[in-house]
């Protein structure tokens, strides 16, 4: 059975190995160059001190910029390809061409046949995804040290170990789709749609709730708050706060009791603490600090003074995932996708082994309605 699995899988396996080797070569050559540029430039120094003003990929050469835009998405495609080209045809092609009738009537139960095939192809799929993800993560490492938020969805999913979970899941989705649809092309299409849907759902509705978020209080300042005027009066708003390498969910202005103050209370506080701003000379409706008839420097000083005088009454409550949650989140996401894959595989093996609910052979359907011979 191992021989048969290998014999049926070897063309794809060799092609994948060749592609992976070419990919590794590209990664290693350009990755070494990237590291060289990184070490030679002054970026490495400022990154170590956290003092890079606007360090971006543009500091590097043109081909690094192109690669940095392509490698991550390429890694995202790997699980999809595994699901569509390894998972979906594994059962669907046998059912479609009828060769299952040959192999399921040899002296081996179909459960064992399927388990061996799934185990071999599935483990190769996990290894390929893991290797590709490791190469990509290594390539990006210097860039990630700069300004990249590692929790950003497009970064989080393109680094670390989650690709292994995605690959296992995509493979299982393909396998199950093939067992249900019994046709290769529809199974591939269903795998494509289901996998992307599952990834979107997970990214937006599940990942944020995997681990309890941390909370931190920040003093109000230019980085996280602003003042806006309206016909009803001047009010205070929170802007998205930044915490280095953390995943910030929200920032809310709260009072010392932890409650969000009412608009009237804020207005009263501004009146009391920042009379010059509250009376709004030269602050047209909708403008923030620094856009006024007064000079920007004067307004900025005014704003800073106002914020520090408010700090005894108000602060910003930030809800976020700290950087220490990065690997636990990676492990959880990988584990959940792999567990879902195991459930799908188990259900498919059970369904195939049960031997019921098989549709008639295409040959029988083609013979048309039952007719009696004369």
């Amino acid at each position: 059975m191992i021989w048969l699995t290998w014999r049926q899988f070897r063309t794809q396996a060799i092609a994948t190995l060749a592609a992976l080797a070419a990919f590794a070569l590209l990664i290693v050559v350009t990755g070494e160059h990237l590291r060289h540029v990184y070490d030679m430039s002054d970026i490495s120094g400022c990154a170590a001190h956290g003092g890079c003003a606007h360090p971006t990929v543009s500091t590097f050469g043109a081909h690094e910029r192109i690669l940095s835009a392509l490698l991550g998405p390429a890694l995202l495609i790997v699980p999809l390809l595994i699901g569509m080209f390894w998972g979906a045809p594994l059962l669907a092609r046998e059912l479609e061409t009828g060769s299952y009738r040959l192999v399921w009537t040899q002296s081996i139960t179909r459960t064992r046949w399927l388990v061996v095939k799934v185990a071999i192809v599935g483990l190769v799929a996990l290894a390929v995804a893991g290797l590709a993800s490791w190469l990509v993560s290594w390539w990006y490492a210097p860039l990630d040290k700069l300004n990249v938020n590692r929790f950003d969805p497009s970064v989080f999913t393109e680094r670390g170990i989650v690709a292994i979970g995605y690959a296992g899941f995509a493979f299982a989705v393909g396998l199950a789709a093939g067992a249900i649809l019994r046709r290769t092309l529809p199974a591939m299409a269903a795998t494509f749609v289901s996998f992307i849907a599952a990834r979107i759902i997970f990214t937006f509705w599940i990942r944020p709730h995997l681990l309890p978020a941390a909370h931190a209080a920040q003093q109000l300042g230019a980085g996280n708050a602003g003042i806006t005027g309206s016909p009803q009066g001047v009010s205070l708003f929170a802007t998205s706060p930044t915490i280095a390498n953390a995943w910030v969910y929200s920032g809310t202005i709260v009072d010392n009791a932890g409650n969000a103050p009412s608009a009237g209370r804020i207005h009263a506080l501004l009146d009391a603490r920042c009379p010059r701003i509250a009376s709004g000379p030269g602050l047209p409706p909708g403008s923030g600090p620094g856009k006024a008839t007064a000079t920007p420097s004067v307004l900025n000083a005014l704003f800073s003074k106002c914020m520090s005088s408010l700090s005894h009454q108000l602060h910003l409550l930030v809800t976020y995932q700290p950087t220490s949650h990065y690997w636990p989140l990676q492990a959880l996401e990988t584990g959940i996708f792999l567990a879902a894959a195991l459930v799908l595989i188990g259900a498919t093996v059970w369904r195939v082994g049960r031997r019921t609910a098989r549709k008639p052979e295409p040959a029988n359907l083609a013979s048309g309605p039952q007719t009696r011979q004369p």
Binding site: M1, W3, L4, R7, Q8, T11, T97, G98, S99, Y100, R101, L102, V103, W104, T105, Q106, S107, I108, T109, R112, R354, R355, T356, R358, K359, P360, E361, A363, N364, S367, G368, P369, Q370, T371, R372, Q373, P374
Partner: protein, 296 residues
């Protein structure tokens, strides 16, 4: 001796359609049994039930006295050549033999090699490029080199040209002559079966219409022709299968175990094909043992 195939009230339903229902049958071991019936009669369903590709929706089935396809050992006792003889197109002839050797503990490599050599098949040729006749022969080789006790073949010659058909059946007969094996072979053409079978099962509209040894069937069926008469006045031992009447003459195909003594009849022997066609044309719904069919 254990029956090669024994079924009791066997039925298989696809959705709301019964492909096979109320099938009660016993095929003794040691026969080359032909399963005949029109397209859509349930032949493929019955054979796939017998090799365990599908599970029954009703009733029970035992093959060689055992539950079907429950264990590798049971699977090893039954060889199967499926309809249209599926193979792996990208695998070579040698790969297929290796597949057989890898998946069957009882594999007879010498037998397989000898057959491939005699057929003149190129071992390196991919199965996808073989002719229909060669595919069928390779599939048969896989099934018999497994050294099964029961060989099941589903319309193996249906898509073959007359020469390939003859060669295939020849190969099958040689194998059955040399080895003790029971064979269950389906076809919608009686002529194919007449040459190789000594047992016949007629399936139509999902029911078994007729089953028995070919010799007995031939011995018990007669065509009578004579002056027109009412068939209700025939002896009760004579079962009318088919009747045609003109103004003056009646022609009957009857089944009887007793000699026909009425001198008014001209008695003729009938061919297996005539018997089969007569039974197929019979309105089975009035049979006492017929199970009502669930509508399509």
């Amino acid at each position: 001796m254990t029956a090669a195939l024994a079924t009791r009230g066997l039925g298989k339903r696809y959705g709301r359609r019964w492909a096979l229902s109320g099938c009660t049958l016993e095929v003794p071991a040691g026969h080359v049994a032909g399963l005949v019936g029109p397209n859509g009669a349930g032949k493929t369903t019955l054979l796939q039930l017998a090799v365990g590709l599908i599970e029954p929706s009703a009733g029970s089935i035992a093959v060689l006295g055992e539950e079907v396809a429950a264990t590798p050992a049971q699977l090893a006792r039954v060889g199967f050549v499926a309809q249209d003889t599926p193979l792996y197109p990208s695998l070579s002839v040698a790969d297929h033999l290796r597949l057989g050797a890898a998946l069957n503990p009882s594999w007879d490599q010498a037998l397989a090699e000898a057959r491939i050599a005699r057929l003149g098949l190129d071992r390196a040729q991919r199965a996808g490029t073989l002719s229909g006749g060669q595919c069928a022969q390779l599939a048969l080789t896989l099934a018999i080199a497994k050294r099964p006790e029961l060989l099941v073949l589903d319309e193996p010659v249906a898509s073959l040209d007359p020469l390939a058909r003859r060669e295939f059946l020849q190969a099958l007969m040689e194998f059955t002559a040399e080895h003790t094996v029971s064979v269950l072979l389906s076809s919608h053409l009686v002529a194919d079966l007449e040459r190789v079978c000594d047992y016949l099962i007629l399936l139509a509209e999902g029911h078994v219409q007729l089953s028995g040894e070919v010799d007995e069937l031939l011995a018990s069926h007669r065509r009578l022709s004579g002056p027109r008469r009412d068939i209700s006045r025939l002896p009760s031992s004579q079962q009318v299968i088919e009747e045609t009447h003109t103004d003056r003459q009646s022609t009957l195909l009857i089944r009887t175990e007793e000699p026909i003594i009425d001198p008014a009849w001209m008695v003729e022997e009938v061919s297996l094909e005539d018997i089969v066609l007569a039974h197929m044309g019979r309105d089975w719904t009035h049979e006492p043992d017929a199970v009502p069919r669930v509508g399509r």
